[in-house]
């Protein structure tokens, strides 16, 4: 390849072979485009040579979707600019390049400071309005705030607040993708729709892509497993969550929400897990304004207690008394302080009804207390990672194994029972946390050795099958990537996987993009 944009892979780029999942891939080339036109140049060159293309953002993914499968890496970190702003019907929309980092975006929105250098007149006018207006925010909040917006669109990322505001999908109003042959495709919210399961995508040059949409029924729960597909759906939703398999996302427009006036948080300390689940069940539907419902089990708390003793980095954590077996965090978004009080007391009532004692709670009503509760929540995965790193020194073959499965509300008790029973049967250590409000728990198995690691991997397949039977999703927010491709087959079965393959083939006839993500290539489809 003679294109200057595409560089041969050398030792200095070694880190781009990995992502946060800690899997390692291989590649021959790497490119760091700065504009959509550069992406098009790169893809055209790869299309001509037939080279495979893996797109990368911040490589914070946990499913290895950004780990290259040979060929060329297209890393979008340098496309990190906010390019436009729109003010319409009282709402604000901003246009982002895919490499914009979430934490930076939050900072820009919060401080209302944007680099408006190349903005057009309309954007600048919108920006003037925006500065005068109230406070706004972008609600998707994956724990890893160093993720890029492009990565979040590719896996339809969620966070704690998705309980109330939904995943990334609902906040995206426009996506532009560069297709494998260099054409671009733009889909907007409220734009092109499918006719039943027949979809015709109109590219920016007017050319059309016709495809059949998969006909499975998606789980009625938080879901980031495979293509979004439904009868008469908006076609923008096919692009969101497509895991880098249909094209390279080159531009995204997001809608901002008005920031709630009052944000309060409360952590409830339970003496046993069952009452915490009863509480969650009670809370759902009975209290308004609940933005997130998060869960930390005894395994996670024990590790936290241990690390707090060992490391000064965790000394700011509140003391977790020995009686505390499970912690549930509830965040309330309200309009007035009176409303927040009412809702807090309603949470208290549900807590009491589930067997809790109101004095065993941590209420945060100001920013510094909220920050402390946030620190607690983030310290859990961090302390588990530290523990695994210690164990890895003894046996380098092991890694943390984390589940990302969700089930419908009715199955909360069932799915927790399943996790508990099977972990006990297999005598595996674990730490669990996550978005219990969505019945979406990150059950993390902590293997001591290679043998336990292998056993845990088998167990995950059993879970995938059971969760699918409950009408759940094998990946609720991390995406399927390469690591969970087998689970996707368990969830949907071969026939529906073939439908997905056919959709991909319509976009990517030479099967070049995101190879290994979601499913493998199959001859003839």
């Amino acid at each position: 390849m003679d294109l200057k944009l595409i560089r041969p892979m050398t030792e200095e780029f070694a880190e781009y072979l990995r992502d946060e999942s800690r899997s390692v891939g291989s590649a021959e080339h790497i490119a760091f485009p700065r504009t959509q036109d550069e992406i098009r140049e790169i893809l055209k060159a790869c299309y001509a040579s037939g080279e495979k293309v893996t797109v990368q953002g911040a490589r914070t993914g946990l499913a290895a979707a950004a780990v290259p499968y040979g060929g060329c890496i297209v890393n979008l970190n340098k496309m990190n600019r906010v390019t436009a702003m729109r003010h319409e019907g009282g709402d604000y929309y901003i246009t982002l390049q895919p490499g914009v980092v979430l934490s930076e975006l939050k900072k820009m929105i919060g401080s209302k400071k944007f680099d408006t250098t190349d903005w057009d007149e309309a954007s600048n006018a919108a920006y003037v309005d925006f500065c005068k207006d109230g406070e706004f925010f972008f609600s998707p909040d994956p724990t890893e705030a160093s993720a890029t917006i492009g990565g979040m669109v590719c896996c339809n990322a969620s966070g704690a607040r998705s309980y109330h505001y939904g995943p990334t999908r609902g906040h995206i109003t426009k996506v532009t993708m560069v297709l494998s042959d260099g054409r671009t495709l733009t889909e907007t919210r409220g734009g092109e729709c499918a006719n039943g399961y027949d979809a015709v995508f109109t590219c920016d040059d007017g050319s059309k892509i016709s495809a059949k949409l998969p006909t499975y029924e998606m789980p009625k729960t938080k879901n980031a497993s495979g293509y979004y597909a439904a009868k008469d759906m908006e076609l923008i939703d096919v692009l969101i969550g497509s895991d880098g398999t249909l094209g390279v996302v080159s531009e995204i427009e997001v809608k901002l929400l008005p920031l709630p006036q009052i944000i309060w948080g409360v952590s409830l300390l339970f003496e046993n897990e069952q009452s915490s689940l009863r509480f969650v069940d009670q809370l759902r539907g009975s209290v308004e304004g609940v933005a997130s419902v998060e869960f930390f089990d005894s395994g996670a708390l024990d590790i936290l207690r241990e690390q707090k003793k060992k490391s000064t980095a965790f000394s700011a954590l509140p003391v977790i008394e020995p009686f505390v077996n499970t912690v549930v965090y509830v965040e309330l978004h309200c309009d007035t302080e009176e409303q927040a009080q009412q809702r807090l007391f309603a949470v208290g009532d549900a807590f009491t009804a589930a067997g809790g004692k109101e004095e065993n709670s941590w209420v945060a009503r100001n920013q510094s207390d909220l920050d402390r509760l946030m620190f607690f929540r983030h310290a859990v995965p961090e302390s588990v990672n530290m523990l695994i790193d210690q164990r890895k020194q003894k046996d380098p073959t092991i890694t943390k194994l984390g589940a990302d499965m969700s089930v419908p509300d009715a199955h909360l008790f069932d799915v927790v029972k399943m996790y508990r029973d099977t972990l006990k049967e297999n005598n595996l250590e674990s730490a669990t946390w996550g978005h219990v409000g969505n019945n979406h728990l990150h059950v993390n198995v902590l293997p001591n050795n290679g043998e336990e690691y292998a056993r845990a991997k088998e167990l995950f397949k059993v879970w995938a099958a059971n969760v699918s039977k409950m009408g759940g999703a094998v990946s609720a927010e991390h995406g399927v990537g390469k690591l969970k491709a087998a689970f996707l087959t368990i969830m949907y079965g071969d026939r529906h996987i073939d439908e997905m393959r056919a959709l991909k083939r319509a976009f990517d006839p030479k099967w070049q993009l995101g190879v290994g993500n979601l499913f493998t290539e199959k001859e003839g489809i």
């Binding site: 007391f345 109101e358 004095e359 009503r365 100001n366």
Partner: protein, 259 residues
């Protein structure tokens, strides 16, 4: 044991608005919080109460909206609170503030211990604790980072000094100021929040506490602000550019020149 905790309402950020006439800061209560150092004082008082029994009072001098923060203190284990609020108190420097607080403490009666935060994050003078102790004529220890032993009569404390720590014993009644190493403040509980909404709360004017208005507020403050200005930040740094190796060479050259 009867313990008084002094708390101050401070802005949650250090961005400033000034009243151009009086040259005093305009307080915006919406974003106000309890001075972070005072949260450690609250926690330590509540811990002492839990250990020795007794009552914890929170006291503040401030605008009426400070009630919200005193109630927050009550959600965190404080039993009762007193707010000194009066136009006559406005514009007080540390001497006039400590005078008002000393009258508030007298109003609350025979206390054993007063706990203040080491300093306030807005004024950063660290003067109220020692000045209040002088106004009341009681002994004091500043910058306490650990209470080693406590009884109704005495406290044995570890305090921060200029070159380390000192262990000191103080006979009560007395005043201490606490540093942020002393504890990890608790969160209010839901039941604490419920209690705080209806908890006993008293508000007093200058007349209520028998204050000599000549010694209060702006009138009673020996110090006067004659000018406030934003510091000049128009300075321009000389850029060091090139490859990192070239930059390091330039930096080392500067190092050789100045050392």
């Amino acid at each position: 044991m009867k313990i008084i905790v002094c708390i101050k309402q401070v802005p949650s950020t250090n961005e400033v608005r000034m009243d151009p006439v009086t040259k005093t800061i305009i307080r915006d209560s919406r974003q106000a919080v309890i001075n972070p150092f005072d949260t450690y004082a609250i926690e330590e008082a509540v811990r002492l109460k839990e250990q020795l029994g007794g009552t914890v009072y929170a006291m503040s001098m401030g605008i009426p909206a400070t009630e919200r923060l005193l109630r927050d203190a009550m959600a965190r284990g404080v039993d009762k609170s007193l707010l000194l609020t009066d136009r006559a108190f406005a514009g007080a420097d540390t001497l006039a503030t400590s005078y008002a607080l000393s009258l508030g403490a007298a109003q609350l009666g025979d206390f054993d211990l007063i706990i203040c935060g080491k300093m306030a994050v807005d004024g950063d003078t660290a003067q109220i604790g020692p000045e209040l102790s002088a106004q009341l004529g009681i002994p004091f220890i500043t910058d306490v980072c650990e209470i080693l032993e406590a009884s109704e009569k005495k406290l044995r404390c570890k305090k921060v000094t200029d070159n380390g720590f000192a262990e000191v014993e103080i006979t009560l009644p007395a005043l201490i100021t606490v540093s942020k190493d002393i504890n990890m403040p608790r969160f209010p509980s839901i039941s604490g929040v419920r209690f705080s909404l209806t908890a006993p709360f008293r508000s007093c004017t200058a007349a209520d506490v028998g204050a000599d208005t000549e010694r209060c507020g702006l009138t009673g403050s020996p110090t006067q602000v004659v000018r406030s200005f934003t510091p000049d930040r128009s300075h321009k740094a000389q850029p060091l550019t090139g490859s990192m190796a070239e930059i390091a060479d330039a930096a080392l050259k500067i190092y050789e020149e100045v050392r």
